[in-house]
């Protein structure tokens, strides 16, 4: 699977890593729903470091889209909420 960490780039992540990532992803969603910034930061940091450790960087000139997209490492909970909204932070 191709996974993008925003502001960092794309990673190819083997399928066996995905289960662990999904668990952390659920944790991240729970943190956002609870509006818990500390918990959000911890799970995001953990999730991103798992991607970096388990995945390998995709070549810069790779043109394909990503299957999954992750917020930038320094994103705030509020920013992620905005990204998910229609008019959100993502231009285009």
């Amino acid at each position: 699977m191709i996974l993008r960490i925003l502001e960092e780039g794309q990673y190819e992540v083997p399928d066996e890593v995905l289960d662990a990532l999904n668990t952390l992803d659920d944790e991240l969603v729970a943190a956002i729903e609870a509006g818990d910034q500390g918990r959000f930061e911890r799970s995001l940091a953990e999730l991103l470091s798992r991607v970096r450790a388990g995945g390998s960087r995709v070549a810069d000139d790779y043109l394909g889209p990503s299957d999954l997209v992750l917020p930038p490492a320094d994103a705030s909970l509020e920013e992620v909420r905005e990204m998910l909204s229609e008019e959100g932070l993502i231009p285009g």
């Binding site: 991240l28 000139d61 790779y62 043109l63 999954l68 997209v69 917020p71 993502i90 231009p91």
Partner: protein, 249 residues
Amino acid sequence: MGLMRRLSMVFKSKASRALDKAEDPRETLDYSYERQLELLQQMRRGVTDVATSRKRVELQAEQLQKNATKLEGQARQALEQGREDLAREALARRAAISTQAVELKAQHDQLKGEEAKLVDASRRLEAKIQAFRIRKETIKANYSAAEAQTKVGEALSGISEEMGDVGMAMQRAEDKVASMQARSGAVDELMASGALDDMSSDSDPLQAELDRVSTGSGVDRELERLKGELGASEAKSLDSGGKSGEDEK
């Protein structure tokens, strides 16, 4: 649904909406390519802007360091002349400057990080634009209406994700730089107001007082020195301050 999938869907829906708008998918390719080049230009300007802010913070930090060094010297000079009040004043100002210096250091590190991130992102974007240009020409050369939509869609989806990412990165970097500029503007204001006096100016009242004391108190100083030699305990510390001050010169 997880966050990772929802975010990827936000990007994908933006890309497919752009494609739906075009009558001839090939136009979308050219249009997108133009926007990619514009974005790359913006990106390079963004890098320059961040670098400019970083340099400004560096200059401020240098100025603060100079002032701190000068105040340290003034404190020493004041002690040599037995003016603990002036020394205290100089050290208090130096402490205020140190606080600002710590803040500037943090800003500088953050700006350096932003700069590196934007440089990396523009390198990636450039590589993708080149790959896109080649793909675009291939699609146009072998154009058949039946498959154009799919092929154009494939070519566009990845690059539009990249463009969305880069566009957002630039926006966030600009916001961060703007808030830092506001803060470093505050340092300039503090300097202007005298709270963090710009010691390079000639009108430094602390220095004026020190100069006055040092020219007018030759006798006093000799007196203090003599007292010190006689072992008066209070004068003793002043005397040792004087000696180390002279070593500095």
